[in-house]
């Protein structure tokens, strides 16, 4: 049964509608992530859900009870928030900030009873904030502040939490820590969580449902595996340049355009780095022969002028070898990454021999000598330097 439900929300400002037809259904304990480019209206939707902006239309219900018909205090018991705004209250400890979260539950003067104190303590434990409680809030780091603000929201004891970009300002370690806390809250405490995130790669790891927003419309809605696809992301974010790989959560800058001067033989992690270095210096390249399961495959697809690919775990077919030889003839250099040349990789030794016969410079990162008149290097940057000088770049 759905717990939190929105129907045809229309959000925005008196004279300007920002997003229309926002519909979602969440079960208790589910996490909904809002995703979309800057200015697409993620914050506007969240502000309207939390009633910081008046809804222009539609309804939000928790267990069939409409949120906006509730009294402010009742509403506060149903929904707590963590906002993007950074607060800097003077002379307040982290503990005091968290305690304020008990507001809707305390008496008229705000006295904390034993039960309140236990809940505050537990909330702080959930965010691992025990060591912070007596420090001044202003002196905490961004990550610590964010955890304290989440503890504050937790001790408000509302079943729904709304967070506006909780990971901004945070470095990767804090991001992971924070999402881990939220994930635990949803599974262990059955909190229903609605939040906006910027990191597409993290969304699929935490969300149960995703709202992808584009140009004032819900572009896609559903579970992350259906919503977050390469094409959907590229369209929603209008990625004319660069590319985002949803499988790996990997971003590449736009590839350089021009005639390929280099053929890179071999894959693996080192190839990944080499592709990026070449691309940074505007040196265009071909790559091959890679298997589809090679970790360099996606990067090469994004950056190389062309990539010669073979299906995984089979012998390389002849047409792929011929195609590679054609490319090698067009190039000035062949770079040997130094991968094994045995088993199904045998084809690559054929390519190196071909380059040697056609008098194309072979630059090798391999530890041993192949007697193909190759120049050997121990680092990628030395190869790049050499090519740069050679090509007058």
């Amino acid at each position: 049964m759905s717990f939190l439900k929105s129907r045809n929300l229309k959000v925005g400002y008196a004279k300007r509608t920002v997003v229309e037809d926002v519909n979602f259904d969440l079960k208790k304990g589910e996490i909904l992530c809002l995703l979309g480019p800057n200015g697409s209206g993620k914050s506007t939707i969240l502000k309207s859900i939390t009633d910081h902006l008046k809804l222009l239309g539609g309804t939000i219900c928790i267990l069939e009870k409409e949120l906006n018909n509730m009294k402010p205090k009742e509403r506060a018991k149903e929904m707590s928030v963590v906002l993007t705004e950074r607060i800097a209250p003077e002379m307040m400890t982290a503990l005091e900030i968290v305690s304020i979260g008990r507001y809707p539950h305390t008496n008229h003067i705000g006295k904390l009873n034993k039960n309140d104190k236990e809940i505050i303590e537990e909330s702080i434990k959930i965010v691992n904030g025990q060591s912070l409680i007596n420090k001044e809030f202003k002196s905490l780091s961004d990550g610590e502040k964010q955890r304290i603000m989440i503890a504050r929201a937790i001790c408000q004891e509302a079943d729904t939490m709304v967070l506006d970009e909780p990971t901004s300002y945070l470095d990767i370690r804090y991001k992971i820590e924070l999402l881990n806390i939220l994930s635990k809250l949803s599974t262990e405490k059955k909190k229903t969580i609605i939040m906006s995130l910027h990191e597409i790669d993290l969304v699929s790891k935490i969300a149960d449902k995703v709202l992808l927003i584009k140009d004032g419309k819900i572009f896609k809605y559903g579970p992350p595996e259906e919503v977050i696809t390469n094409s959907a992301i590229e369209e929603a974010y209008n990625l004319g340049v660069g590319c985002f790989n949803t499988t790996l959560g990997n971003v590449e800058l736009p590839k350089s355009i021009g005639e390929a001067k280099v053929f890179v033989i071999g894959g693996g992690e080192r190839a990944n780095n080499l592709y990026r270095e070449l691309n940074k210096k505007n040196i265009c390249f071909f790559s091959g022969i890679l298997f589809k399961n090679d970790i360099a495959y996606n990067t090469s697809k994004s950056l190389a002028n062309d990539t010669i690919v073979e299906e995984s775990f089979i012998d390389i077919k002849l047409d792929k070898i011929d195609k590679s030889k054609e490319y090698i003839k067009e190039c000035k250099y062949v770079i040997d990454i130094g991968q094994s040349l045995e088993g199904i990789n045998r084809a690559n030794i054929e390519l190196l021999n071909f380059a040697f016969e056609n008098c194309i410079d072979i630059l090798s990162l391999r530890c041993e000598d192949l007697n193909l008149n190759e120049k050997r290097f121990d680092t990628i940057s030395k190869i790049i330097d050499m090519i740069k000088i050679d090509l007058n770049l």
Partner: protein
């Protein structure tokens, strides 16, 4: 951050107030002996006519008014600082006092009377109150479209200038006698406060301050900003109106009876926060009132005695102490965090 225990804070501030009262009771153009006064209280000694006149006609009303008005101004400044989330606002900065002065000036300078205003202390209070509220409402009207607190404060200062210009305009055409009485009023002084005035102002100030104390819970939540406060169930619109009304009532009442007194409203809340190291309104409200009272008492002591028999205006002293204090506190703020 090390927190000081609440009872200790209140005890120390209370002792400070007692000391300030002690100094003010005994010192003046005629010095009384503290032991003699104690004898009256504890050993049933009869006061001489001379002593009784000094104490009950001059010093005690003056001490009580300094306590009441100093406390009220400080609370007023505290409410404004909470509302604007800015430590340098006070009734003065936001044009509230200038608005009061404009209205009081209008009635003093033109000798105009309105039948429904009646006479006596209540008339001056009403006029000053209306002036304060109007200038505050004007600031609030612009508050809706101002996108930052800085803009709002500049607007407040500008409204203050306009009100002062209005007052100066009237001064140009006023009689000398009226100008002098406005000037005397606007210097701010606790001399000439009568028991009647004290009674009236305590009826206004004490309930307002007590009410403020009972707003501690929303005041605390408000420290996290309006958006968080709203998410916890505070009716923001109502609360804003409450803050401004309470603050204006307090500063209007003081301004009406003692004239505009500068810097108490800005300096004392700030000083209290920094010395008590807390923002908890349940501790802060009584502390600010106590410290405001002591601060004003000590300032008044200097005003009376420094160049005796000439008496300085209270604002002269509060500004001399208050302004450098604020500068020093602001400049050293980073170091203490």
């Amino acid at each position: 951050m090390k927190k000081i225990k609440t009872p200790i804070i209140l005890l120390v501030l209370f002792l400070l107030l007692i000391i300030a009262i002690g100094i003010n009771i005994t010192k003046g153009s005629v010095d009384l002996n503290l032991k003699d006064i104690m004898d009256v209280i504890f050993n049933n000694r009869e006061l001489t006519k001379f002593e009784s006149n000094i104490l009950f006609k001059i010093r005690i009303p003056r001490i009580l008014s300094a306590i009441l008005f100093g406390g009220a101004l400080s609370i007023s400044g505290f409410l404004l600082q909470t509302f604007f989330k800015n430590p340098i606002v006070g009734p003065f900065v936001l044009g509230i006092s200038s608005g009061a002065k404009l209205f009081v000036g209008f009635f003093i300078l033109t000798s105009a009377t309105l039948p429904f205003l009646g006479l006596g202390p209540f008339r001056l209070f009403l006029v000053s109150f209306i002036g304060s509220m109007l200038s505050m409402l004007l600031v609030l009207y612009f508050a809706k479209s101002a996108d930052s607190i800085t803009v709002l404060i500049v607007i407040g200062i500008m409204i203050g200038y306009i009100a002062s210009a209005g007052t100066n305009f009237m001064i140009t055409f006023a009689s000398e006698k009226n100008i002098v009485s406005l000037h005397n009023w606007s210097q701010g002084s606790f001399s000439g406060i009568t028991w009647d005035m004290l009674e009236l102002s305590s009826w206004i100030i004490l309930p307002t301050v007590i009410f403020t104390f009972f707003l501690s819970k929303p005041l605390e939540a408000y420290l996290l900003g309006e958006n968080y406060a709203k998410s916890m169930g505070i009716n923001i619109k109502l609360f804003r109106v409450l803050l401004i009304t309470l603050s204006s009532v307090l500063s209007a009442c003081v301004t009406a009876f003692a004239g505009p007194i500068s810097f108490v409203g800005i300096a004392v809340p700030h000083l209290t926060r920094l010395t008590t190291k807390t923002s908890n309104p349940r501790v802060l409200t009584p502390s600010i009132f106590l410290l405001g009272a002591s601060f004003t008492l000590i300032a008044d002591y200097f005003a009376r005695t420094l160049f005796s028999p000439a008496e300085l205006s209270i604002s002269t002293v509060t500004s001399f102490i208050g302004a450098p204090l604020v500068i020093w506190l602001m400049a050293n703020r980073r170091k203490r965090v």
